[in-house]
C-alpha cells in the first residue's frame, strides 16, 4: 500500500496522483473509494428527493387526474379520456375570460415595467452622488409581500375615499370605480405588480449595463452619437441576454398572477375576481374549480393548460427578443 504510494510520481499526472492520494488516508482504501464515488450523489440527493416527491410526482398525478372525473363529491372515479380538455377549450367561456384577463394584465404590467426599469437603470448608471441611497430606495418595494402590496393599493384605488380618485379629482376627472370596470381594474392591478418589480428589474439591468465596456460609449461619443443614440445602439443590443432573462421571469410570474387580484376585493367571494369576473386570472379560476366546485379532474386540465401557456409564451418571448435585438 504505502510502497505503491511512494512509487507513484507525485503531481505529474493529475488523475494518477489523485488515485494514490485516495489510498493514503485511513488505511481503508475501499472506504475512500466509496467516499469519492458516492459523496457527490449524496450531496445532491436532498434536492432530488424533495423534487421527486413534491415536484415530479404531482405533475404525473395531475396528468392522470385530468383524464378522470375525480371529485371529493363522487364515490367513484371514472376515466373520461380527453373530455375535460375538450370542454375546457371549446365550451368554457369563463376559462377564456380568465385567459383574456391574465394576458391583458400581463401585457399591461410587463411592458411598462421593463421599459421603466430600463430607464431607471440608465439613470442609475450615470455618475451620481448617493448611488447606494438611490439603489436602496428603488429596490425597497421587494421587501413587501404581494398581499401587502395588494392591501395598500386596494385602498389607494378605493372608490369612495381613494387616493387615486382624489388625484383625478384634482385635475377635474370624474372618480372611477376601479373594480367595476374591466380596463380600470386591469390598470390598477398592473400598477401593483409594477410597483413591486420595477426596482428589482432596474437593478438587474444596471448590473448588466455596468459590464458593458465604457470604451464603446467613448468611441460612439467621439463619432458624435447622442446619448439617446448610444442607448439604442449600444446599451439595448448589449443587454439582449438580460432582457430575455427578465422577460422570461416576468412571463412566469405574470401568467401566475394571483394574490393582487384576489386581495383587490375584500370579502369571501374573492376568487371570482369581480362581479363579472373582470379580473379573474387563470390561477384564481383553477382554485375556484378545485375548491368551490370540487371538479378535481377538470382542475387538473386547467393546471396543465396553464402550464402549456406559460411554456409557450416564454418560448415566443425568447424568439421575439432574439429577433428584435439582433435587428438593431
Amino acid at each position: 500500500m504505502s510502497s505503491l504510494e511512494t512509487t507513484a510520481p507525485p503531481g505529474l499526472d493529475p488523475s494518477r496522483s489523485r488515485r494514490t492520494a485516495r489510498r493514503t488516508p485511513s488505511g481503508f482504501p475501499w472506504l475512500t473509494r466509496l467516499d469519492l464515488r458516492l459523496s457527490p450523489y449524496l450531496f445532491v440527493l436532498p434536492f432530488f428527493v424533495i423534487f421527486a416527491i413534491f415536484g415530479v410526482y404531482p405533475i404525473f398525478y395531475t396528468v392522470w387526474i385530468a383524464l378522470t372525473d375525480r371529485s371529493p363529491l363522487n364515490a367513484t372515479i371514472s376515466f373520461v379520456g380527453l373530455d375535460n380538455f375538450v370542454e375546457l377549450l371549446t365550451n368554457d367561456p369563463q376559462f377564456w375570460n380568465a385567459v383574456w384577463n391574465t394576458f391583458g394584465m400581463f401585457v399591461l404590467s410587463t411592458v411598462p415595467q421593463l421599459l421603466l426599469a430600463l430607464m431607471l437603470a440608465n439613470a442609475l448608471n450615470r455618475r451620481i452622488r448617493g448611488q447606494m441611497f438611490f439603489r436602496l430606495a428603488i429596490a425597497m418595494p421587494i421587501i413587501t409581500s404581494t398581499a401587502v402590496v395588494a392591501l395598500i393599493f386596494s385602498m389607494i384605488y378605493a372608490r369612495d375615499f381613494g387616493l387615486a380618485n382624489w388625484l383625478l379629482d384634482l385635475v377635474g376627472v370624474d372618480p372611477i370605480d376601479w373594480r367595476a370596470n374591466r380596463f380600470a381594474s386591469w390598470f390598477a392591478i398592473s400598477t401593483m405588480v409594477d410597483w413591486r418589480w420595477v426596482g428589482y428589474n432596474a437593478l438587474i439591468y444596471l448590473a448588466a449595463m455596468q459590464s458593458i465596456s465604457k470604451d464603446m460609449y467613448e468611441a460612439a461619443a467621439l463619432d458624435g452619437a447622442s446619448r439617446r443614440r448610444q442607448f439604442w445602439s449600444i446599451t439595448i443590443p448589449q443587454l439582449r441576454p438580460t432582457i430575455i432573462f427578465t422577460l422570461i421571469i416576468s412571463t412566469i410570474g405574470g401568467l401566475q398572477l394571483f394574490t393582487e387580484p384576489l386581495m383587490f376585493t375584500s370579502g369571501s367571494g374573492a376568487l371570482s375576481g369581480g362581479s363579472e369576473g373582470q379580473f379573474q386570472t387563470i390561477t384564481m379560476y383553477l382554485l375556484e374549480v378545485m375548491n368551490t366546485r370540487f371538479r378535481w379532474g377538470y382542475a387538473g386540465a386547467v393546471a396543465l393548460v396553464l402550464f402549456l401557456l406559460i411554456a409557450s409564451v416564454s418560448f415566443v418571448n425568447y424568439l421575439l427578443a432574439r429577433r428584435i435585438s439582433s435587428d438593431k
Binding site: P14, F47, L120, I128, S145, I152, M263, S266, S268, A270
Partner: protein, 301 residues
C-alpha cells in the same frame, strides 16, 4: 459575490493623455438634470406607499376614510396595532411565529443543501452531472400551480393540512439555491486547495466542512437573505393548504383581516406594517448585500 459593489466606481485608464478627449469621456457619464428628475420621481413613487402605510396605520378608521385623504401620520398607531394583535380572526401573533419558524427553517435548509449540492456540481466529478444539472434548471421553470391539486391531496393524506410542515417541507431546497452556490463555488474554491486536502487524507465531507464552507460564506449569507425574504412573502401555497384561520402564516393573517365583513382600514394597515417590519429590519441591516446579490445573480445568468 459582492464584487459589483466592492469595485471602486469608474476606474478607467486615463484617456490617452489628451485633455480634451479625457474631459469628453468624463462628461459622458455625468447626470443630466433630466436624470435627476427621473430618479427623484422614481424614489418618491417607490417610497410613498411605505409612508402611506404609516399614515393610515396611525389614524382612526374614520380619518382613514375621509375626503380629502389624510397625508400626515396621526397618533393612533399603538392603538391600531393593539387592535390587530387582539383580532381573533387574524391570529397575527401565531402568524408571525409560524412565519419565523417556516422561513427560518427553509433558509437554513436551503443554505445547507444548496452549498452541499453547489459544491458537488462545481468541484466534484461524477457521472451524469450535466444531466442532473439540467433537471435542476428545468425544475425552476415549473410553476407550483401545475401540481397544486395532487400536492393538496398528498398533504391531506399526510395529515399536514393546516400545519406548518405543509408549507415548509416542499421548499426545503430549490434549484435557485443550488445554482447560486455552484456559480460561487466555481470561482471561490481553488482546485489546488481541494487537491491538497485530499492528499492530506480528507474525506469529501471534511473538505466540504473545512475548505468549502468558509469560502462560501459570503454567498451563503446572500442566499440566506434572499430565501428568507421570499419565504416570508409566500402567499399562494399557504392560501391553499392553510384554510384554517387559527393556524396561519402572517400573510394568511392579512388575508383574514381583508375578508372581514367590515373593512377596518386602519387595522388592516397596522397589520401590513407588522407583517413588513421584519423584512424592513433585514433590509436596513443588509440592504447592500441584498442588492449586491440581485445584481451579481443577474450578471451570472
Amino acid at each position: 459575490m459582492t464584487s459589483t459593489m466592492l469595485r471602486p466606481p469608474a476606474v478607467r485608464p486615463p484617456a490617452a493623455g489628451r485633455p480634451g478627449l479625457r474631459h469628453r469621456a468624463e462628461r459622458l457619464w455625468t447626470a443630466s438634470p433630466l436624470t435627476w428628475i427621473g430618479l427623484v420621481i422614481g424614489v418618491f413613487l417607490s417610497l410613498f406607499p411605505f409612508y402611506w402605510m404609516i399614515v393610515i396605520a396611525s389614524r382612526t378608521n374614520d380619518a382613514a376614510n375621509s375626503w380629502p385623504p389624510p397625508f400626515l401620520p396621526g397618533g393612533k398607531l399603538g392603538e391600531n396595532i393593539q387592535r390587530v394583535l387582539d383580532n381573533g380572526d387574524a391570529n397575527i401573533i401565531t402568524g408571525l411565529a409560524n412565519s419565523f419558524l417556516v422561513s427560518g427553517t427553509i433558509t437554513v435548509a436551503t443554505v445547507f443543501f444548496g452549498s452541499l449540492a453547489g459544491f458537488a456540481f462545481a468541484k466534484l466529478r461524477f457521472r451524469g452531472k450535466n444531466a442532473l444539472l439540467l433537471i435542476i434548471l428545468a425544475s425552476m421553470m415549473i410553476p407550483i400551480q401545475l401540481g397544486v391539486l395532487p400536492l393538496y391531496i398528498l398533504m391531506a393524506k399526510l395529515e399536514w393540512l393546516n400545519t406548518m410542515p405543509s408549507v415548509t417541507v416542499p421548499f426545503l431546497i430549490g434549484g435557485f439555491g443550488i445554482f447560486m452556490m455552484r456559480q460561487y463555488a466555481e470561482q471561490a474554491v481553488p482546485n489546488e486547495l481541494i487537491e491538497a486536502a485530499r492528499v492530506d487524507g480528507c474525506s469529501t465531507w471534511r473538505i466540504y466542512w473545512h475548505v468549502v464552507v468558509p469560502a462560501l460564506r459570503p454567498a451563503a449569507a446572500v442566499l440566506g437573505l434572499l430565501t428568507f425574504m421570499e419565504q416570508w412573502n409566500q402567499f399562494f401555497w399557504p392560501f391553499v393548504v392553510l384554510a384554517d384561520p387559527a393556524n396561519p402564516t402572517v400573510q394568511i393573517s392579512l388575508r383574514s383581516l381583508n375578508t372581514a365583513y367590515f373593512a377596518d382600514n386602519s387595522q388592516i394597515f397596522a397589520g401590513t406594517l407588522i407583517a413588513t417590519l421584519p423584512l424592513f429590519v433585514v433590509f436596513v441591516l443588509f440592504g447592500r448585500q441584498i442588492i449586491g446579490g440581485i445584481m451579481e445573480g443577474a450578471v451570472k445568468s
